[in-house]
């Protein structure tokens, strides 16, 4: 998952993007601790007019996730579903 916010200093809600960044960092820490992988959540800053940059970040995120593979939660769910089918 990636969170996109305005450039730092330009937030319409003043500090919203700073708070969001802190929360993303917290989430990443916890995900690391439980073995899911903190890199699965990231924050990007850009302004609303930067379409191409947004596309670039999206691609970056997609490639990152592809490299990491499915999350352990998804994999576990898949295994459980298979077992249920077989039964």
């Amino acid at each position: 998952m990636y969170v996109v916010g305005c450039m730092e200093g330009d937030c319409h809600f003043n500090e919203g993007n700073f708070r969001a960044r802190k929360r993303v960092e917290q989430a990443a820490k916890v995900l690391d601790k439980i073995g899911i992988g903190g890199d699965r959540v990231k924050m990007y800053n850009l302004s609303s007019g930067e379409g191409p940059l947004f596309a670039q970040y999206s691609t970056e995120m997609v490639n990152l996730v592809k490299k990491m593979g499915p999350s352990p939660v998804r994999l576990a769910r898949q295994r459980m579903a298979k077992k249920a089918d077989a039964a």
């Binding site: 916890v30 601790k33 439980i34 899911i36 352990p72 939660v73 459980m80």
Partner: protein, 222 residues
């Protein structure tokens, strides 16, 4: 208010390993204000626990609920009709709430999800600092409103000791010397003559030392 801090997630995971049906129980008062155990923290913790166990292929039931307070019978009663659906409760309330819940629901393990730290104030965003040790015999009138029991590392009642430098305590540059604060305050109030009054030996029997404390109000009992 009571200040608490979230317990490390590894510790909580270990606490609930053995249980399959868990209720994460938050509190809407102090722990909400210090962002350790309110509704938001309950959601996050429940979600993290679900992900953690799911990733191991173990599906646990993890429910969420936040009560107004956990130190009053009437709010804790609200979960009486559902408590038997759970093998354990993680209470994100302060130590008081965890215990009160445990006393009420004797056959369900109630586990702490936060570490209760102190009685304090919200000095700044993300910063809570101790102000009161609940000694039971408040001396604030004599010390310009600054408490030497909770804010002096040696609870010196006739301070400062010889270790303060630049208004900071010998234990850390980040800790104010309580007696420097008291002196500044007495000066501001024009009451420096109070400084030389010798504070008598303290009666600690109203403090923790005297045993668990009780307040009874006959005028309030029916």
């Amino acid at each position: 208010m009571i200040i608490a801090e979230k317990k490390p997630i590894e510790e909580i995971i270990q606490e609930v390993e053995a249980y399959d049906r868990i209720l994460v129980l938050g509190c809407n008062e102090c722990v909400t204000v210090c962002e350790a155990g309110g509704k938001k923290e309950v959601e996050v913790l429940a979600s993290v626990l679900r992900m953690n166990f799911m990733a191991q292929g173990r599906e646990k039931t993890i429910d969420e609920r936040t009560l107004e307070r956990q130190c009053d019978h009437e709010y804790l009663e609200e979960i009486r009709d559902v408590i038997d659906q759970y093998d354990a409760v993680i209470s994100l309330a302060c130590g008081v709430g965890v215990q009160f819940a445990a006393e009420k629901y004797m056959t369900t393990p109630v586990l702490p999800g936060v570490n209760t730290v102190c009685l304090g104030a919200n000095e700044d965003r993300g910063l809570w600092t101790e102000r009161c040790q609940a000694c039971g015999t408040c001396v604030l009138a004599r010390t310009g409103g600054i408490c030497p029991v909770s804010r002096c590392a040696k609870r010196v009642l006739n301070g400062p000791c010889g270790g303060a430098s630049n208004g900071k305590c010998e234990i850390s540059k980040d800790t104010d010397c309580a007696w420097q604060l008291i002196i500044d305050r007495l000066k501001a109030l024009g009451k420096m003559e109070d400084y030389e009054k010798v504070a008598p030996v303290k009666d600690w029997s109203t403090d923790r030392a005297g045993g668990p404390r009780t307040v009874t109000r006959e005028d309030v009992k029916i």
